[in-house]
Symmetry: C2
């Protein structure tokens, strides 16, 4: 489809249109400047795919669905409804069952939504807040998650930060000992997980992590828990920058970790707390509130909905 900046209302996504978007410059998926336009497309949608998804959605809203009831609700011709159903049956997401008198979804549909329970959900919630914070303080925000014995950085607002000219940090894997994200994860993760990770560190580092070093590390973690944030070891690269990290907690688990980096020389020491750290902590709290909200709101559960006594 032809790209038209007027089709995109920046305010609809809680963020003003960037210069790049306003001038209809297409931002690629791996672009390091600007941000992708949610309405950008290279192709028209594939019609049969739209239909199959529509049929699947409708079958999910009914206990038992029939060809006729799906046709009535979707306006798709009956032979096409049958074709879509049989394609979904082929993949195991739906079964046809005359003992039910229709079609129903199977447990296998879980694989079509399982990915949302992880970092995708945190990013979806955190994204507008992180973008807002970068617009406010200029410095880039990162989001990462534990992956084995390292943190993997999954999100970074550096593409819209006016002070960022460096390469990306997406995909980078900061360690658990010296990085801000790693340290804050170790401080706030469940104790059993922390002990397990420390055993892994002992095994990997050998004499580099002797009893004295380990004791110092544990005391550092205590201080981080009390203060609520971690700092990257200043002897590690990039040495001209400071990085703070805070946890994103979802209940008792560390759903993600968040960081901010800035040139040490460009922020007066006595105002770091006010201009960088406190806004970071406030954004963390907002993200956690939003996560808690979507965890407790009523989910789409048709049986619950139908049991309500409707008083008109």
């Amino acid at each position: 489809m032809e790209r038209d900046v007027d089709d995109w209302d920046g305010d609809a996504f809680g963020e003003p249109a960037s210069d790049a978007a306003q001038t209809s410059v297409h931002i690629r998926t791996n672009s390091r400047r600007g941000h992708t336009n949610p309405l950008d497309r290279s192709y028209p949608p594939v019609n049969s795919v739209l239909r199959a998804l529509h049929v699947l959605k409708v079958v999910n809203t009914k206990a038992i669905a029939t060809v006729n009831s799906i046709h009535a609700e979707t306006a798709i011709p009956r032979p096409t409804v049958v074709r879509m159903l049989e394609t979904l049956m082929h993949e195991g997401y739906i079964v046809r069952d005359n003992m039910c008198g229709g079609y129903r979804v199977t447990g296998k549909v879980a694989e079509l939504s399982a990915g949302y329970s992880g970092i995708s959900r945190v990013i979806e919630v955190a994204r507008p807040l992180a973008i807002g914070l970068t617009r406010q303080i200029k410095w880039p925000i990162g989001l990462g998650e534990i992956d084995g014995d390292e943190i993997e950085i999954r999100y970074w607002t550096g593409t819209i930060s006016p002070v960022v000219h460096t390469n990306t940090v997406l995909g980078k894997r900061p360690d658990l000992l010296k990085s801000a994200m790693g340290r804050v994860y170790m401080a706030f993760c469940p104790e059993q997980e922390r002990e397990r990770q420390i055993r892994v560190l002992r095994k990997r580092l050998g004499s580099e992590l002797d009893q004295v070093a380990e004791s110092e590390f544990r005391h550092m973690l205590d201080r981080i828990r009390r203060s609520g944030f971690a700092t990257r070891d200043p002897k590690t690269e990039p040495t001209r920058m400071t990085t703070f990290g805070v946890p994103i907690l979802d209940g008792a688990s560390v759903a993600a970790v968040m960081s901010v980096s800035f040139f040490t020389s460009s922020v007066p020491l006595n105002s770091v707390r006010e201009t960088v750290l406190d806004p970071l902590i406030e954004t963390r709290l907002n993200i956690e509130h939003a996560l808690a909200f979507i965890s407790t709101r009523p989910h789409l559960d048709t049986s619950l909905q139908r049991e309500y006594d409707v008083n008109l």
Copy 2:
């Protein structure tokens, strides 16, 4: 595709092939005899739909997916991968985000699997057990769920019962006062729900449910809770048959209700317990165990999986 009975291994579904299936007779979705063959198809699967589902499944398995990583895992050509991704973006299930360096699923994917949480899940678990019971005792088994102020029958093995020649009971809506399913629901549902349903009954029946009748009803529910099963009021149709109902509990909630019906005159009174009721109760316990098992088993959660310390 051409139907070939040899392609279907009845044992794979825990049930022997019926005569109808063995002779390749096609059983329709609304057929009242025999059972549908899971491998029966009128059309070949739609290729673009298969690809889109495959792409969606793969994106769900990754935190952040790229065109190249999806191509590597699916063997789908890159332009086609982009086409499928953009179709899924069109429906809101996936977003492209250069701040993540790739594509990720959104919370909207929940609507592709939400339907499984209800009666579909109970039927999926209960189906082989109910079929086994009908094969054992000959009589048809029904499964229903509460829908507003009535039970809706969602499943019935009458299509394979050798003693059933009547019309179907699928879609029938037995009431909460006199039917076996309704009474057992009222006995075992949470107290708040029971009181709400009784208020609805008072409103609807007026003087037909005076204080004496209501008190008798409550005492009956007490007896049903103690005995573990309900019986249909013998004065209601079909009068020549007896129906027993038991609850299917999932935790504290009544996930479904299950019933068996038989000709009263064809089962000696002194052997009803042994030949009909006890097998029904045993099947109920097996279904509940299976439901509990799938509720607690580890779900597909990629972040949890990746955190395990792999000791090779």
